[in-house]
């Protein structure tokens, strides 16, 4: 790898499949403060995403992560992001390619990094409608370093087709990050979105599977979700999404406890930074703040080795 003056670590034998990495930048104080911070809901794009700026998108995410002070992006690629198959109904071929690409991206980052300095971690994304492919994809992914499963909206969360996936997650000791529409009052186009009640049914059927309810700020009525999952200890909530309703972060932590809430950004690192600052402003006890910023992620992603300035993070 060559560390170039523009801050990009480019692959020595670059191909159009590979996305440049960003050299760590310790020259400026992180915008979100010096304490560890892990993004458990990140996405990248590949050369098959159908957008010519896919690599720039990835660079932007990494650069912003460096500026914010992220120690890790736990990330997935949702197939071809609608280019060859729908984003929320990805084809098996698109998923296999995307999952392999994401793992390779993470492995290149690990190869660049010093020991205990890996920043990229891969989910394996699957479509439950292709049940055998989903299970095989999870097993292959875990063998090759994936640390979680990503489910989007190909099937409602309480559908029986998710049972094998949930069991597989428990068997491997990895969590499922599940796309959720907070209080879905109708069907929305292009997805079989689930809400907290539906995810709760899956959680109740699989008490040994850890579920990460995606983006409490990602659209819909977040207050509905808090009531829906409050009594389900295996449901955790990530704070990501473009929504920055005042009161949402406080209410989520109050309803679920800091031990079940994880900071994340999803598609908007700006709102992620806003929520990181809001966590400071609302005056959480230090232990609770660490839980949300990184400690819960360390607990939930048992297969990942997260680090902060070269020191392995231990919950």
């Amino acid at each position: 790898m060559s560390d170039t003056s523009d801050g990009l670590d480019r692959p020595a034998r670059g191909t159009d499949r590979e996305s440049p990495l960003i050299a760590p930048d310790a020259s400026r104080r992180p915008l979100a403060g010096d304490a560890p911070l892990i993004d458990v809901h990140a996405h990248f794009h590949t050369d098959r995403s159908g957008r010519s700026d896919w690599a720039m998108y990835n660079i932007s995410r990494l650069r912003a992560g460096e500026r914010i002070g992220l120690d890790a992006h736990v990330a997935s690629v949702l197939g071809s992001w609608g280019h060859a198959s729908p984003t929320y109904f990805p084809s098996p071929d698109d998923l296999t390619y995307a999952n392999q690409w994401m793992r390779a991206f993470a492995q290149r980052d690990a190869a660049r990094a010093k020991p205990a300095d890996q920043r990229l971690f891969a989910y394996v994304a699957v479509n439950p409608n292709h049940a055998a492919h989903a299970v095989q994809e999870i097993r292959t992914g875990v063998d090759q370093g994936a640390v979680g499963i990503k489910l989007a909206a190909s099937r409602k969360a309480d559908d029986a087709l998710l049972d094998d996936i949930a069991a597989e997650a428990a068997r491997h000791g990895i969590p499922i990050l599940h796309h959720v529409w907070q209080d879905r009052r109708r069907e929305w186009p292009n997805q079989d979105a689930s809400d907290g009640v539906e995810l709760g049914r899956l959680a109740a059927r699989h008490p040994n599977t850890q579920l990460l309810l995606a983006h409490i700020g990602g659209g819909g009525d977040w207050a509905h979700t808090l009531h829906a999952v409050r009594d389900l200890p295996n449901v955790h909530v990530d704070l990501s999404g473009s929504g920055i309703d005042r009161g949402m972060v406080d209410a989520t932590i109050e309803a679920l406890g800091a031990s079940r809430v994880l900071w994340a950004a999803d598609l908007t690192l700006c709102t992620g930074l806003t929520k990181a600052w809001a966590l400071d402003a609302i005056g959480l006890p230090p232990g609770a703040l660490d839980d949300v910023r990184w400690r819960n992620a360390v607990r939930l992603f048992a297969q990942a080795t997260f680090s902060h300035h070269g020191e392995v993070l231990v919950a």
């Binding site: 932007s60 995410r61 209080d183 659209g219 700006c270």
Partner: protein
């Protein structure tokens, strides 16, 4: 002794006090807003009365706004609402101008005033005559989360363009717009018309899609102002967007106060 950090913005043009009809909002009170402004290094705020957007007659809310802000007028400027299709609106406007309004708020979506509605341009003319900017709220919540009874929708770009093209001379301050609306309006106006339209940018997305950087690269930052939509939204968002800009994109700080009639005509 270190110098105090410079202000992030001269004014937050889009704050409210008062309750919100569709969900509980924590302590939407002026004394809390004053503390938040100090913490966020914002010198002042233009403050509206939040319930007014959903009330037929905003004048009672304006009275409550003035009363609530009275102890805090060194930091909080009233931005009362005037409904231009309501009897006696000119009297209400004059009353609010005399009371020291910093801007006049109008809610076209909630009040059913569509693109090109003559009452909107009449209000803009009157605001210009009174030396006051006209403040338009495109949205207060994401469309995906609105209460079933909240059916007003967003203010379309066509409403803003029609008003900006009406040759009223009034400064328009647009709050709650995303990148698409801002660009649609800005590039749909002559340079002279555009010079009178200011945008708060808190709803624009930053990285990794970098809409805000692309917006500033394309339009510059000269017409951008800080608007938080406190108490509905977290106030840190504009600062986060500016902090995350790529190195080649610079926004001058503190973010300015929109120039209004008197300043522009003096220049």
């Amino acid at each position: 002794m270190t110098a105090p950090a410079p202000n992030f913005a001269e004014v937050d043009v889009s704050a409210w006090i008062g309750s919100y009809p569709f969900r509980d909002v924590p302590h939407p009170d002026p004394e809390v807003l004053v503390r938040v402004l100090e913490r966020e290094r914002v010198a002042r705020a233009w403050v509206g009365w939040l319930p007014s957007a959903w009330q037929r007659d905003p004048s009672a809310g304006n009275a409550r706004l003035l009363s609530a802000l009275a102890p805090w007028r060194d930091v909080l400027d009233p931005a009362p609402a005037v409904r231009p299709d309501w009897p006696g609106w000119m009297t209400e406007l004059a009353k609010q101008a005399d009371a020291g309004a910093a801007a006049i708020r109008v809610y076209p979506a909630q009040w059913g005033l569509g693109p090109g509605h003559p009452a909107l341009s009449e209000l803009a003319h009157a605001c210009h005559s009174a030396g006051l900017p006209l403040h338009i709220t495109v949205r207060v919540e994401d469309v995906r989360q609105r209460h079933p009874h909240d059916v007003a929708g967003d203010v379309p770009a066509a409403t803003v363009r029609a008003l900006a093209r009406a040759n009223t001379g009034c400064t328009l301050v647009i709050s709650g717009a995303g990148r698409e609306l801002i660009e649609e309006v800005a590039w749909g106006l002559t340079p002279g018309e555009r010079a009178l339209v200011w945008f708060d940018f808190g709803w624009v997305w930053g990285p990794p899609d970098d809409h805000f950087a692309q917006l500033v690269r394309g339009l510059g930052s000269g017409q951008l102002v800080h608007g938080s939509q406190w108490p509905l939204r977290l106030v840190q968002q504009s600062r986060a967007l500016v902090s995350l800009l790529p190195a080649d994109v610079v926004v001058r700080l503190p973010l300015p106060r929109p120039k209004h009639h008197l300043e522009t005509s003096a220049g």
